[in-house]
Amino acid sequence: MNLDDELRVLGRSVVVPPVDEELTAAVLSRVAGAPVRKRLRDRWRAFLAGFLVLIAGAALTPPVRATVAEWLHIGGVQAVPVGTAPTSAPTAPPVTGKLTLQDAARVAGFKPAVPAALGAPAGVEASSGFIAIGWANGVRLEQFHSEVHPLYWKKYYNGLEYVHEVDAFWFATPHELVLVNEQRVRIAGPTLVWVRGGVTFRLEGVDKARAVELARGTS
């Protein structure tokens, strides 16, 4: 056996104690902006957080091959890379509901943020934790509570781009959009996705420059 292989055997034979069982929960609580502590005070919370992670991982994620593109969750949206993609997309479905923004807030349980530049919406729909707003020029803005489970899978082929100015992701090409709970699929056009204050936003129906501008002006 040569020296390289002896060293490999040596490396393998070093007994490393198992990973601290609170590691995942501690890391998640720190990156989620929870009160920053090195050790979680509350063991139960730690356990629960870890448990939810396991559930989410088991139920939703295909084998992670450890590239960012392959595991990216953006709030309530999970980006799933696929081999091929649709080449064109119909315009975003119009929002036909006629709720006022106040009513929508009551139904959804949170106050919607609206891009000031677009003026009065043409339609507003809402359900618990979810609001869709449409404008006459074809722009569609959805906002929903981000939870452990994604609401959407976006199957993208290529062209997922991080937009630094607004801390958002731009899906540059048409892609299949899967509403996870209802197994509903539609082809979505280029979309900007971002997260603010626990709410995920999807803005569809404009080009990238305009989307970034609108995202910046959404409050």
């Binding site: 056996m1 002896e6 890391v27 998640l28 939810l52 991982g57 992670v64 595991w71 309530g76 997260v195």
Partner: protein, 169 residues
């Protein structure tokens, strides 16, 4: 990347924690190993914005682990190099491993520890952790050519340092 859902990140933590911990132990984090690993994952998350698309997560993470380990070792390191080398080994070698005797492995480990820092790092990554050359280069932040040449010199030194050279068994 504030947009990143932490649940997905949790999965990455679960998956990569063992190799991260192993790396920290091998690079000498000692009693600080768990803190180093936790800190590295938090830093990795915060630095995701600078992560190159399509790159592999593991070497990138391990590089952060290596840097964190170096920091704690330096902060701690008031012990002189001589004391350090004389100290008992703080890693446990599995006595059941048959391919190379426990005695020989102990010798090897001592010899690796006695190497100058850069050679020790490259041997640790390339052989003890069994990373490939490219990953080793990424973890240490060196060009591949440098990894090759330092590795070559390190192996030469080890050969000279070991009492019975490449015993055939």
């Amino acid at each position: 990347m504030r947009g990143g859902d932490s649940a997905a990140y949790g999965e990455l933590v679960v998956r990569h924690a063992p190799v991260a911990k192993r790396t920290a132990v091998f690079l000498g984090a000692g009693a600080d190993t768990d803190d180093v690993v936790q800190e590295a994952f938090v830093k990795a998350y915060r630095a995701l914005g600078g992560f190159r698309d399509g790159a592999s997560f593991r070497p990138w993470l391990l590089r952060i682990v290596a840097n964190e380990t170096r920091n704690v070792v330096r902060a701690r390191g008031r012990r002189s190099r001589r004391e350090e080398l004389a100290a008992p080994l703080d890693v446990v070698l599995d006595p059941a491993e048959q391919a190379v005797s426990l005695e020989r492995r102990t010798e090897l480990l001592k010899a690796v520890r006695a190497l100058p820092e850069q050679m020790r790092l490259v041997v640790t990554c390339r052989y003890l952790l069994d990373l490939d050359e490219q990953e080793t280069a990424a973890v240490l932040g060196w060009p591949r050519g440098t990894v090759k040449s330092r590795l070559h010199r390190a192996i030469g030194r080890l050969r000279d340092a070991l009492p019975d050279k490449e015993v055939q068994r």
